[in-house]
């Protein structure tokens, strides 16, 4: 009984606030309905706590994302190259990129680790480091934020239709405007895309193939289409600059 209790309290990752199968709920006001003792009702404070996930599986929510980033990311050593790539905000998110790359590598344990430079290059190619970009104002479901996450992706990450097996990320559309939540979700999504490419290829997909899948152009690349190649070359150009920077510095 004691051993079972210990296992159930185990965390997915040492940075997590709550045990596996539970998610963090931030301190919030709670309305207490009227009663004999308090005929008009009252407002109390429900303090931070861990709540069970209905699925029993791991789920990351923005309140934990904030805490994790604040407590741990400054100390993460494997950061992307500290070059702006000539973007005004090009170095602004380096700590978040480093932290979430490290986190998802630790949790999902790929044989070839995802590198933070790759995430930074992907952000450069998707949004030029503009955190508030929405692809289509007439369609609030369109891609948003640093990593241009669509609403369909957001729903899959939260496992609304059961398409993701484990390690869900739950964030609203508005919450994805926050760079921290966006990068957390975006890196998880890239892992998803690598899994999909792997399934289609019948062998382990490379991270570059995962990026092509992320951009919706992997099939066109395989067919040798020029425009798909230009899109991936643009991403590769940024990645090359970042990799060169690390070698030189």
């Amino acid at each position: 009984m004691a051993k079972n209790k210990k296992l159930s309290e185990a965390k997915i990752h040492p940075w997590r606030l709550c045990p596996s199968g539970q998610h963090a709920v931030r301190t919030h006001p709670l309305n207490v309905p009227p009663s004999k003792r308090s005929p008009v009702g009252s407002v109390t404070t429900r303090h931070f706590h861990c709540a069970h996930n209905p699925s029993g599986k791991d789920k990351m929510e923005p309140v934990e994302m904030e805490e994790i980033a604040e407590q741990y990311f400054l100390k993460v050593k494997n950061k992307p190259c500290a070059t702006s790539l000539k973007f005004k905000n090009g170095t602004k998110y380096d700590n978040l990129i480093a932290g979430w790359t490290r986190y998802w590598n630790d949790v999902l344990k790929p044989k070839d680790l995802l590198k933070p430079n790759l995430i930074k290059a992907l952000i450069a190619s998707e949004s030029g480091f503009d955190a508030l970009l929405l692809a289509d104002k007439k369609n609030q479901n369109s891609a948003r934020g640093l990593m241009q996450i669509t609403n369909k992706s957001r729903k899959i990450l939260a496992n609304e239709a059961g398409e993701l097996r484990e390690h869900f990320v739950s964030a609203s559309r508005k919450e994805l405007n926050d760079p921290n939540a966006n990068i957390c979700a975006g890196v998880r999504w890239l892992f998803r895309k690598r899994d999909m490419a792997t399934g289609k290829l019948g062998r382990q997909a490379t991270w570059e193939e995962a990026v092509a899948e992320y951009k919706g152009i992997r099939n066109d690349l395989v067919k040798g289409r020029k425009r798909a190649k230009e899109l991936i070359d643009r991403f590769e150009g940024y990645l090359g600059d970042l990799e060169a920077c690390k070698k030189n510095g």
């Binding site: 005004k88 369909k152 999909m196 919706g216 425009r227 070359d233 643009r234 150009g237």
Partner: protein
């Protein structure tokens, strides 16, 4: 005699108007270049304003255009008659549950084409909406201006020299259409 003076006066008035317009065009372009010396490649044919160039300066470091300038978006204005907006179908995406496409704006040049490409494949239906925008905003127009960061020098499927750019937006006298929301409704400071 009076008729001769009238003809001379009309001629001088027309000449003066022509020179004024030419000078005003020069001063418009000069004014743009003074504030943003690198942001516009070539002539804008009166289509751009300071806000258009100011917005791009918030994205990337302003620098003279070169093959290494792949962050700062540049504006360039091209003849509408040479331009086509295409949606290159990339197939059905299981996660998006829709057919995706790469947006490709193709401007034919004598020796070199220009192509503005979307940053990723996105819904074909949205790409078609861009085609509708292009049809509407370019009808009867001589020039359209395009904004986006440089991507690479390459060749297209037919082996022709092509300069590739990332597509951000296009603008004509009739209006503007952008890949990202609100990039055509520029507020002060953005």
């Amino acid at each position: 005699m009076q008729k001769k003076w009238l003809v001379l006066f009309s001629f001088l008035a027309m000449a003066f108007t022509f020179v004024s317009i030419a000078r005003s065009d020069e001063s418009h372009l000069e004014s743009l270049r003074k504030q943003f010396p690198y942001g516009l490649l070539g002539d804008d044919h009166g289509l751009l304003n300071v806000k258009d160039l100011a917005r791009n300066a918030t994205i990337g470091d302003e620098e003279p255009f070169s093959a290494k300038s792949n962050a700062y978006p540049y504006w360039q204005c091209l003849p509408v008659k040479d331009i086509a907006l295409r949606c290159e179908n990339t197939g059905y995406d299981e996660d998006e549950k829709s057919t995706l496409a790469i947006l490709a704006v193709v401007a034919i040049g004598k020796e070199r084409d220009q192509e503005y490409l979307s940053r990723r494949a996105f819904s074909l239906s949205r790409c078609r909406a861009f085609q509708s925008d292009w049809k509407r905003l370019s009808a009867g127009e001589s020039y359209a201006c395009f904004s986006g960061p440089f991507s690479s020098y390459g060749t297209n499927d037919f082996g022709k020299q092509t300069t590739y750019w990332a597509f951000d937006k296009f603008k004509t006298q009739k209006g503007c259409s952008s890949y990202f929301a609100d990039e055509c409704n520029l507020r002060q400071g953005k």
